[in-house]
Symmetry: C2
Subunit: 252 residues, 2 copies
Amino acid sequence: MANRLRLVTGSVADHIRRCQACPLNALCLDEAPPGSLPPQQPCLEQRCVQLHGGEHLFRVSDTVDQQLHILRKGDIKLYQHGREGGQHIIEFLGPGAWIGLESLNEERRHAGAVALTDCEIASVPYAMLTSLLDRQPRSAEAFGHLLSCTIARHQQHAAMLRSTSAAQRVAQFLLQRLEQAHGYAKATLPMSRQDIADYLGLTSSTVSRCLSALRRRGWLSMGQRAFTLPGRADVERVAAGAPLALDDAVTS
Amino acid sequence: MANRLRLVTGSVADHIRRCQACPLNALCLDEAPPGSLPPQQPCLEQRCVQLHGGEHLFRVSDTVDQQLHILRKGDIKLYQHGREGGQHIIEFLGPGAWIGLESLNEERRHAGAVALTDCEIASVPYAMLTSLLDRQPRSAEAFGHLLSCTIARHQQHAAMLRSTSAAQRVAQFLLQRLEQAHGYAKATLPMSRQDIADYLGLTSSTVSRCLSALRRRGWLSMGQRAFTLPGRADVERVAAGAPLALDDAVTS
DNA sequence: CGACTTCTTGAGGATATTCAAGAATAGTGG
DNA sequence: CCACTATTCTTGAATATCCTCAAGAAGTCG
């Protein structure tokens, strides 16, 4: 088994054509001749799992099943058991995200993964991935980059948790959601308030209060699940530390 | 440049003899015949850096210098700039820790590294490491494990930041320090109270108060830099969420 | 030994939590 | 399609916790 990963020094070029249907399309970096169409047939067979909202992909202490997963549709939350029964949310994952990077060399999962909405998940056995990484050095670069980004995301999360103000954390969370739905002005909140609270180190009451305060000011507009930020500049000010009275009436 | 990393599925055996003087001794996993002495001469030339307390190994936005570092002696803190001038401590690193894993595929550092005490740091160029990883599949396994552990450590840190009570966080921090000085009942606090506070998302005043409260109860004994936990069981209870009055006199 | 920084501790005030009850939503079965 | 139940969400008031500001103590370094 020649499963190897390239240790990369530079950044990854992303001007390369990718096959659309491939679960590894973020990694499968065969250079196509300029002007040609991307290959239509996937270079790897695609094994998909369907998950309904509330179902587990895996649980804490499950044995790792020698596969990585890629979220094609839907939303997943990664969690750990906190003390006192509560659960700590590690991360919310959306379409395109990789699942299982944190358990690469572990025997058992130290996190659980639950579907928040109906999901479509592509599974890639380690063996398949590593053979790709062997064939294509650029893919290996991209994979290394993926691991680095995961660490960076955790550091960003930690920074959010240290923001003293609750309003600050909630504002940062909303902006993060928007950013992940890149380019769009609209993002979704498929998770419960309790989940958001566990993610931000707050209580669901406080999250609710902060959201209400932003709504009262007209800076946040929420539908059933989706939201937009009409006052994005203001929300960014709050995220940067501007004070936000929670139980106050609108003044300006 | 054939720099590759083995993607590993199992756990890493650690019954293997290692050469003592090698900066890569945690990775250099040549199997020695049972009963033979570990090789005395390092398999890689060793370039060491000496750092005095307060000196930087690298700063935020420095270009990554194509090297990894291994802390042989001393303590280092990894930090990022927070908003409003404060700095967020990412991690405290002690002897044996690897530095720079988070910047593997980055052009510029997104964290700074400062010596807390006088340090001795071994530097390993990527090229040297990767040639080792090519030669020894077991080393590549170990390296993959290292990356996985880094992610796990960040998740643990995030869990600590979500602990609601200040006393809880401080207690967890003390226990973590003890654990890292594995086996010993004594650990050190080479960092300032402000650093601890930035690491835990508190203020230095609160950290001080919590430490005083633990000392008053006789559960914590502090010298200049080192400390022990005579009431370790009690401290563990606090870390798990047991209440701890900060400004209270000792009752029991 | 003296100047500097860091640490400790106090009092007051701001902020998030707790507890609780009512409103909105989702899910179920008729 | 609608009613009914269960869950989640919002909001209020009171409390506890942590932060701010500040001054004195202890430690560090030349």
